[in-house]
Symmetry: C2
Subunit: 264 residues, 2 copies
């Protein structure tokens, strides 16, 4: 028996996929800064030769890295895998996918935003630098100037929240907040809120902004709460069709939560 057990000490030489090893190695190079964003990786054929594998293997690795958002593949001459400057997009899509798979009602995302964005508004009132105040102001103006176009309006809405995120002095807030916003955007994509709602939204944003500009953190926090709750209120009709509950488990959770929220 002793001789048999000792076999466990020998680990398999290679139980992993080659494409994973390749992807890991490239990822590490990028992580350690050996390849800067914007730069190009060698061509698939060169990589295959260098790693001593087939092209198919390299391609599988690249699919992985592409999915993670750390490289972008362009085809044609002078094409190839380019290292991208990663933003929160892949985090957002990861969260979106997770919430969709779990069939989380959009209301709960709003609830999470309600815990985070007001804090960010308060922080912004304290920390926001002039150039970011400027950016927010421009976003507000943009919103007011495009009440007739959902797409344009949304762009400036995004711009405002983005500036808010960047004014935290801490990118983690920005990433999380933008991911949550992106989930909302995804859920309501293609829906036109209507001019009246856009006007209200612009005014709510302006109230938040004004509080931030004059450095009134408490007011900014309150205004942000009002903004999100307000928007959520007139967004509700759209929600019903957008996120139907599926399993009884989910429905149960929702009812429970609703009950508890009322207690506030």
């Amino acid at each position: 028996m002793g001789s048999k057990v000792s076999l466990r000490l020998f680990k398999p030489v290679r139980a992993v996929r080659l494409s994973d090893v390749v992807a890991d190695q490239i990822r590490q190079l990028i992580l350690q800064g050996h390849i800067e964003p914007g730069h190009r990786l060698p061509s698939e054929r060169q990589l295959a030769e260098r790693f001593g594998t087939s092209r198919a293997c390299i391609r599988e690795a690249l699919r992985q890295l592409e999915q993670q958002g750390i490289v972008e593949i362009r085809k044609g001459a002078r094409g190839g895998a380019f290292v991208t400057r990663v933003d929160g997009e892949s985090l957002a899509s990861s969260l979106t996918l997770l919430l969709k798979l779990r069939r989380i009602p959009i209301q709960q995302v709003t609830e999470a935003r309600l815990a985070i964005e007001p804090v960010m508004a308060r922080r912004a009132a304290q920390y926001a630098r002039p150039e970011l105040i400027e950016e927010m102001a421009a976003a507000i103006e943009g919103m007011k100037a495009h009440l007739d176009s959902e797409a344009e309006f949304e762009h400036f809405d995004d711009a405002f929240h983005h500036a808010l995120g960047r004014s935290q002095g801490n990118p983690v807030f920005e990433f999380l907040a933008m991911a949550l916003l992106e989930v909302i955007r995804d859920a309501f994509s293609g829906i036109d809120y209507g001019r009246e709602n856009r006007r209200r939204l612009a005014r709510s944003h302006a109230r938040v902004f004004n509080a931030i500009r004059r450095g009134d953190g408490v007011a900014a926090e309150r205004a942000m709460v009002a903004l999100i709750k307000g928007a959520n209120r007139w967004l509700a009709p759209f929600v019903a069709s957008a996120a139907p509950p599926s399993s009884s488990e989910e429905r149960g959770k929702r009812l429970t939560r609703r009950g508890t929220r009322r207690r506030r």
Copy 2:
């Protein structure tokens, strides 16, 4: 000129990768619940035949889905692509990657946790169900019982925060909080805090838990702030070597943030 411009109306029939189309289609099937978690997709050869593509193409699609964490590939007879029940893991790894690439100091992650976890503690004091209180109690006991093993201790630490997350009545909080915790874990993986620190940590957790159990939201919130700040204090020495700044830009940001934090 008119005839030329009209050409723009014709969109390319297929400028996308086949593997993307395949991945999208499978993802949709899973998203719409046509394939349940645990079930197996057809074999690569069958999929290739069904989609009318090559196996290489199918494999690239599977690499994508695997990276997203929605399928798990097993090899050998009765192997194949199995639909997984997606948890927050892929969200966590996505966040970890993003923060590493941007070289975000771990301190800023702590700052974000400081904005979220205390709120969760407060909410838990109001909403937590008996079985989750039970779970937290067990986690606290586990921590106390394993002060001598970093690995075991960490497991129960995780269990506590997990229970805290699940007691929100809103999975979004849970996902975000666990992702942030995972980033911390990743940054300090393999480090032994030492028995004394583990003892302190267990006591801090116990204080949070006791407040939650007696339904005292305000105290729970305060205790959680103390927990995170306390842990962060004695964790600082480890940080220095764990997250070296690289670009001057990043260093600038850090100094700025430090300055602003002091103003609190």
